[in-house]
Amino acid sequence: MMTQIVFYVMAASAVVCALACILQRNPVAAAMWLVGTMFSLAGIYVLLNAQFIGAIQILVYAGAIMVLFLFVIMLLNLGHNASDLRRWPAFGLAVGVSTALLTTLAGLRFYTPARLAAEVAGASASQDPARVLAGGTAAQSAMDSLGVVGAIADPLFRTYLVPFEITSVLLLTAAVGAVVIAKRRI
């Protein structure tokens, strides 16, 4: 019960911050509103039993990426002179696209764990419906035994080791690339 209320509050906050973000004229204000969205989302992650991810969200997203955004905004010295919203055809398009999206995705509100399990079982015969729900209990037991961080680290360094290493190479490449692109003189 309590979790539900907290969830809805966080959700409302996230939506409000997101809307404010896309409608702000000032880029700095928009960045700040986005940070608010991320904080709300971090709270929701914690509610959804993803505490590590929640922490990472704040550390990386809000703390690094958004800061980077702010650096660039301030570096470019962008003011808030004229409105940079597109003219009305874009508005119509936006309404249309969002309506399409929401109607497509509207079916998501009916999802319960049981239905999910049934769908997964129906989709691939190899997946045992019980195992779907069992994944959650296995996750819980992993967290109990290895701790919150350990539960993530275990698959990260075992099953997903190769993607992990590749991601590190990717980060290196991105760093070098960003430096090269942004230099005044190569």
Partner: protein, 98 residues
Amino acid sequence: MLLGPALILSAILFSIGVVGVVIRRNAIILFMCIELMLNAVNLSFVALAQFHGLSGQVMVFFVMTVAAAEAAVGLAIILAVFRHRQSVDLQNINLLRG
């Protein structure tokens, strides 16, 4: 528990991000809307990770990493373009006009 509402919230946030991309001309704010979309997807992953196992959360981990890399490079590009055109308004960045 909380699966349906979480997924719906993810859909709403994603839609908001799409609307933002469509209606904004400022490149940096456009970028922020894209980050919003990524966040919405992260929320979906996390919500389903409760049932499918922790690989969902590992996926979120990777998404965040890649988003960071992408944000860095993207902002570097915007910087470079700004030096040429003195503007980040997308209407002025039309060198691809054929």
